[in-house]
């Protein structure tokens, strides 16, 4: 498999090889950037649902704080997405 990839890479001009490498790194960068925020948002929303179930009269307050937390947590994933766009297309 790697020999085939090597042969295919040898026949491509340098610019294409560079863009293929950049695309691979872009995918890796975005994939890594999703891991932490994925765990974080899952934990955050899970705990919020538990809080709302235990104390339904505090649901409004919990929901506001939950959205704030989601906004802070997903910022890292979104920066990863921007890095993906920069690596892939710029």
């Amino acid at each position: 498999m790697s020999i085939l990839a090597q042969i295919a890479a040898d026949q491509l001009p340098a610019a294409d090889q560079k863009s293929i490498a950049a695309a691979g790194q872009a995918g890796l960068a975005y994939g890594l950037a999703t891991l932490g925020p994925g765990i974080g948002i899952g934990y955050l929303v899970g705990q919020s649902v538990q809080a709302m179930a235990r104390q339904p009269e505090a649901a409004g307050m919990v929901r506001t704080t939950m959205f704030l937390g989601i906004a802070f947590t997903e910022a890292l994933a979104l920066i990863g997405f921007v890095v993906f766009i920069l690596l892939k297309f710029v």
């Binding site: 409004g60 307050m61 506001t64 959205f67 704030l68 989601i70 906004a71 997903e74 910022a75 979104l78 920066i79 997405f81 921007v82 766009i85 892939k88 297309f89």
Partner: protein
């Protein structure tokens, strides 16, 4: 070319030719500028129309305006700033409506382009919010705002050498940057998602056996359009609530 799918380059998705004026000139006017102007005019017109309607019982556009103002007052300001934040209501309401309308152009036919999917729009909005919360802090606390913003109380003095640079970075540099990037990346991701499924539908619309998959792809496209309407509301809400939190943290010194 991925698996026979001809995906357009990203420039075709987000860069628009100027309606008039040469490329890269300061007075060039393209689709994004048109969307921003429409959002500005629509926000103004909605509130002027609501102001004109008389009577005790709200109806029509006044209903929309009154309920959204009450939502921002009760759901955003009272929960984050407190009662003394009510004087920032006009700024937050206009921010919310402007972002919401520019975002909704993502699903409006013949536009299909969120105005905030170019970095310039969110960056300007974040800069305005940044200036606004600094000025609100200066007005509420005077020049000692800059010290109270970077030095949390109760920290032993040797630690201040570490805490102050970190707090300075997170308050004055990361805040506007993350505010802008959050809105921009969400709208761009939604736009690319919709384009991907549209391109898939167009490719599958052929005389081969692949047409069996087309209904699933199209159903996904419709579902994602509904999802993107929700994202447009959610991002406007999150931008407004974060602006309110930042204003609240700068007018109330931590103690």
């Amino acid at each position: 070319m991925i698996f026979g799918l001809e995906f357009p380059p990203i420039e075709n998705l987000v860069e628009w030719p100027n309606l008039f004026g040469p490329k890269d000139s300061w007075y060039g006017f393209n689709k994004i500028a048109l969307i921003n102007v429409i959002a500005l005019v629509a926000t103004t017109v909605i509130f002027l129309l609501a102001r004109r309607s008389k009577g005790l019982v709200p109806h029509g556009v006044r209903n929309l305006v009154e309920s959204s103002v009450a939502f921002i007052r009760d759901g955003i300001i009272n929960e984050t700033i407190g009662p003394d934040g009510l004087r920032y209501l006009p700024f937050l309401v206009s921010l919310f409506f402007f972002i919401l309308i520019t975002n909704l152009f993502e699903v409006i036919p013949f536009f299909h382009m969120p105005g905030n999917a170019r970095m310039a729009g969110p960056a300007v909005l974040a800069l305005i919010t940044w200036l606004f919360f600094i000025c609100a802090g200066l007005k509420a606390q005077g020049p000692k705002y800059f010290w109270s913003a970077v030095a949390p109380p109760g920290v032993p003095w040797p630690l201040l050498f570490v805490v102050v640079p970190i707090e300075f970075l997170s308050t004055f540099i990361v805040r506007p940057f993350s505010l802008a990037v959050r809105l921009f990346a969400n709208m761009l991701a939604g736009h690319i998602l919709l384009v991907t499924f549209t391109v898939l539908c167009i490719t599958l619309f052929s005389a081969t056996l692949l047409i069996i998959v087309l209904p699933f792809s199209f159903a996904m496209l419709v579902a994602l359009t509904g999802f993107e309407i929700m994202v447009a509301f959610l991002q406007a809400y999150i931008f407004t609530i974060l602006a309110a939190v930042y204003i609240g943290s700068s007018i109330h010194a931590e103690h």
